[in-house]
Assembly symmetry: D3
Homo-oligomer: 124 residues x 6
């Protein structure tokens, strides 16, 4: 990735995912500097799609991370992100609950347990 892309990605990451996103970046830098920068660059590119706003993007990502079942740490980052860009606790619960019809109750329940932790962490 070009240095400029990494910087744009970091700015977007801070703006959308806040501290939770920055922690992912810092952790990755110690394991794989390539992935740290590549993730940022890709994130910046994805965020450059202006056909949907940050809120809409987080709705899709929270849905997808719930449905995948194994993406719990990333779901938590994106619940933080969702709150950060203006989704309410109620909207996030509604998105996760909707997934019960598409990915079943196990995926939904594990996502709700993750959401509970994030809400506690955010004091809401």
């Amino acid at each position: 990735m070009e240095q400029k892309q990494v910087e744009t990605g970091f700015k977007k990451l801070s703006e959308i995912d806040g501290r939770a996103g920055e922690e992912v970046y810092e952790r990755l830098q110690k394991i794989s500097p390539f992935m740290a920068d590549y993730l940022l660059g890709s994130f910046g590119e994805i965020c450059s799609i202006t056909d949907i706003d940050n809120k809409t993007r987080e709705v899709a990502v929270i849905g997808a991370c719930t449905a995948l079942g194994y993406a719990i740490p990333q779901l938590k980052v994106h619940i933080h992100a969702g709150l950060n860009v203006g989704l309410t606790k109620e909207e996030i619960l509604a998105i996760i609950n909707t997934m019960s019809a598409y990915a079943g109750f196990p995926a939904t329940l594990n996502a709700l347990y993750a959401a509970e932790e994030v809400f506690k962490d955010e004091g809401i």
Copy 2:
């Protein structure tokens, strides 16, 4: 499911998923009348969550059906539904493209191929 729930679900299905949704119901009635009614009842219940609107719900569902990888027929129904409740072609492509970061390119590409078919079908 209570008869009333099935009826509410059918009304919601027609309103949101349109003809594509009704065809699923009709097909299921021939294979498993239980599932046909249970699906409608569940759909009605999920749609009774008013914390998110139809558009937001379809954003999450299109994201999730893309990420699951194997839910192509259901993704098509929900791309129809998304258009039906006001999502644009560009917004739907943006949601699917975002998934490349969360579920990889194979899931995203197969979803784009499905979207292409639906857009052709809708003449857009």
Copy 3:
């Protein structure tokens, strides 16, 4: 869900999943009362299918939760449930072991580790 469906669901949940199921319900009520009731209602509906008995249903669910790979907390609940409705420890191990052919050894091994915990918990 209608109040009657929730009540029927709770009775079924207590009967089949026992205390492990009730704990899921209680936990969900604190996170999302909608999901707590919706899960019960759906569970009651699924259990109203009388073409298979409780034992057969748990065989299928233990198989599926093993194969999904990420549904470990739910697998534990259903191993408790399986024992509760008359499956033996040996039958449950046989179901999980069969999954090695259909979902691979990682899914099977993680399920066996979960089963070990439940068996210890049940003192068998």
Copy 4:
């Protein structure tokens, strides 16, 4: 695999999966003789677990192949197998429908469409 294991596996395959299973074996022999024999040997080993009978095993496998979402060709073989070892059409539909709670409606619906084909094929 030892020749004896392959032979035992083939006998079990014919007995349980019938013609649908034999066709898989014949097709594999042309692509990968190793896999053809390895599959038979493994199948024989799995079937040597006598803690569950053929019917119970097929219940678990039909549940799992439904939940996996992408295992449609194998699901068809095992619906044939299920019928072969004494499961009724109604029981098979009940197993698949149960999966809607554990793996969501997309996986369930695609499994029902597969079941419809097998039932037509079997003239039931």
Copy 5:
């Protein structure tokens, strides 16, 4: 993505995936020009990791596309790519067969059927 990244990606795509890769790019350009370019740019970045060679990368990708279960069109592209960078038919079958232990027989069998088509297509 920067124009230079897209160009580097296209060169890498032609070199590794050959005509099968170029067809994916051309198809994507008609559905989503963003994704067409983003895929190329990402591919170029991934290929810039010089710690593994093209052959090793294709081994991992063929393994992963087999295990995912739903990535059959992409598996075909990468079987073409694998042959292109020097993997033999026997090596590709060995990679796919190994997956039976990690993702089960359904994923493996569907991958073998896909491999059969590619080998026929390549006249080997």
Copy 6:
């Protein structure tokens, strides 16, 4: 499995997966002696495919266990195994990072966190 297959499998397991593999076997023996022996026998059979060497096999398995998302304990065993048969830390990171394009960032990041633990454990 024949006793001879189990013994061959154990020898292969010790040679390739080292102590991490042996621990899996010992743990399984306490939960399900059938699975302990069946796993060894299958492992021996898979390793009898001489078209690829141990290193190539581990490349595919590390890729697949990353892509599956839920196979973290098994991924750790195979990162140990990879190091054991001659893969470097850099090669393993490159394999995992490549998966971001095929299975998305959540699967990749969770695999990197697992790799970090194994590398720490190995003192590299």
